[in-house]
């Protein structure tokens, strides 16, 4: 029914990394690391390492020195957690701890799609105006009203629009292929589920202005009327 153009996929993701928490005094801690490496040469080889310095009062120089020491030992640092912003010099991304629970929902097929707790859904009781952006990383978004051209809704779960959808909707934007999009009147500029998107021009004429739902089928976004 729909064209399936997916030249790019952008999505959020949660990955496992080894979090290393240095302790003071740093010199003694590095000596311990050396001992560890002496016992097991390849301990850090091929591992994504995040260093957690949240409890360490490090100056910028001390912090950068620590990074140098680690790289001398071939420990590749993916990111740093809890660093003072003044210490970050662009060499290494600063990470904030995300929730790891979200993607687990996909792995639990026995839970019905309606199961996500009602507290995680977000209700907007007004039109979403051009230029407004609604981002809800924890569940469904329901709009009672229209979503204007130039407005954008980004949700981890499904998006329900009880009005005309004229803007952009990204459902399942944090990795959820079971998310859906529902609207009373389809005039969207863009709809995406889990990174698979369709533009306005990709939408078949008979679906425009219709009351529809969209979901992710094997070969892309599927749209059907609900009248």
């Amino acid at each position: 029914m729909t064209t399936k153009r997916t030249s790019f996929k952008f999505r959020g993701g949660t990955f496992h990394a080894l979090v290393v928490k240095p302790e003071t005094p740093i010199d003694a801690w590095l000596t311990d690391i050396d001992k560890l490496l002496a016992r097991s040469h390849g301990f850090f080889t091929g591992k994504s390492v995040v260093i957690d310095v949240s409890d360490l009062p490090l100056s910028k120089d001390a912090f950068l020195g620590l990074l140098d020491e680690l790289s001398k030992r071939d420990i590749r640092i993916l990111g740093v957690e809890g660093a003072d912003p003044s210490c970050i010099d662009g060499r290494i991304p600063s990470l904030t701890r995300g929730k790891t629970a979200e993607p687990k929902q996909e792995a639990a097929p026995e839970i019905a799609t309606s199961a996500p707790a009602p507290a995680s859904s977000f209700l907007i009781d007004a039109p979403v105006r051009s230029g407004q952006q609604i981002i809800h990383p924890h569940g469904d978004v329901t709009v009672i009203g229209s979503v204007a051209s130039g407005a954008e809704i980004v949700a981890a779960g499904s998006v329900h629009v009880y009005g005309a959808l004229r803007g952009r909707v990204l459902a399942g934007a944090y990795g959820n292929e079971r998310a859906r999009i529902f609207c009373r009147k389809l005039q969207a500029e863009l709809m995406a589920i889990d990174g698979h998107y369709v533009m306005a021009d990709d939408i078949e004429p008979h679906l425009r202005e219709a009351c529809i739902q969209a979901w992710l089928a094997k070969d892309g976004l599927e749209i059907t009327t609900m009248d």
Binding site: A126, R129, S146, A148, S149, G150, R166
Partner: protein
């Protein structure tokens, strides 16, 4: 105490300044005390449309910065005693407006007038933001075409989030003024219809001003259209809007073909 209105649109050239002048004059002619305030600092126009460009000594920026008193800066209209203009500065830019200064000017204007009408600059930057900040209600001016309507939608979003009222959690009243409505093009389907615009913007319709040469003539003369030719179609439409603002119930008609005959009663009630 005055009702403070902001006339705003997002997009330029849709008729904010024309509407400010016309509504200010229409209200004042009905005996109301009215101040029209030009917030378009750096690109002032309202003084020209009011025919007061040669009488500007002090302007809004002087009052905001405290170098002139409000009474020195307010210019009384030569035609209507109860109509005043607070002009914008042409030599400064919008960064000269301060939030505190604007709040103080609006607060000082309130006791002396029934209506304070703030003419917003186009755009969504500082000037437009400060023009709407301390208003009680907004007149959103739009032309029946998609870019204007989308910009107006953007402005409505800002009215609901950045104004002082919104920040206090109070609802901001917003009314739509549809300007430059061309009945012939509308009937040919070359413009958005009234229903289409209302469907997108979802705010009450305050009035429809037909496209007319009278508006251009009035601008060139430096006279608000409601004074230059009170019997013309746009002037009568603005008069109706002024009466609706005062709370009167005036039926709203969509201008029809045949040189602006107001003969089709529009099913929707005015705000």
């Amino acid at each position: 105490m005055a009702h403070v209105l902001v006339v705003t649109s997002g997009k330029g050239g849709v008729g904010k300044t024309t509407s400010t002048a016309a509504l200010g004059a229409a209200l004042a002619r009905g005996g109301e005390r009215v101040a029209v305030v030009d917030f378009d600092v750096g690109l002032r126009n309202l003084d020209l449309l009011m025919g007061a460009e040669r009488r500007v000594v002090y302007d809004l920026i002087h009052v905001v910065q405290g170098t002139a008193k409000l009474t020195q800066a307010l210019i009384r209209d030569k035609r209507i005693d109860s109509l005043f203009l607070l002009a914008a500065s042409q030599t400064r830019d919008k960064d000269s407006l301060t939030e505190d200064g604007v709040e103080r000017v609006i607060r000082e204007l309130r006791p002396f007038f029934d209506w304070v009408i703030c003419d917003s600059p186009a755009g969504i930057e500082r000037g437009a933001s400060l023009a709407m900040r301390y208003a009680d209600a907004a007149i959103v001016v739009a032309n029946p075409e998609v870019s204007s309507v989308r910009d107006s939608d953007r402005i409505i979003g800002l009215l609901d989030s950045t104004t002082a009222k919104a920040r206090h959690g109070e609802p901001m009243d917003k009314f739509l003024l549809l300007t430059r409505y061309d009945p012939i093009r509308a009937e040919r389907g070359e413009m958005l219809g009234v229903e289409d615009v209302l469907d997108i913007l979802c705010i009450p319709l305050l009035g429809i001003i037909p496209e007319s040469r009278e508006v251009l003539n009035a601008s060139n003369m430096g006279t608000p259209v409601t004074l230059s030719n009170p019997e013309s179609a746009p002037a009568r439409a603005y008069d109706d809007v002024a009466r609706r603002l005062k709370g009167e119930s005036v039926p709203l008609v969509v201008p029809r073909d045949k040189s602006g005959l107001f003969n089709k009663l529009f099913g929707r009630r005015a705000a």
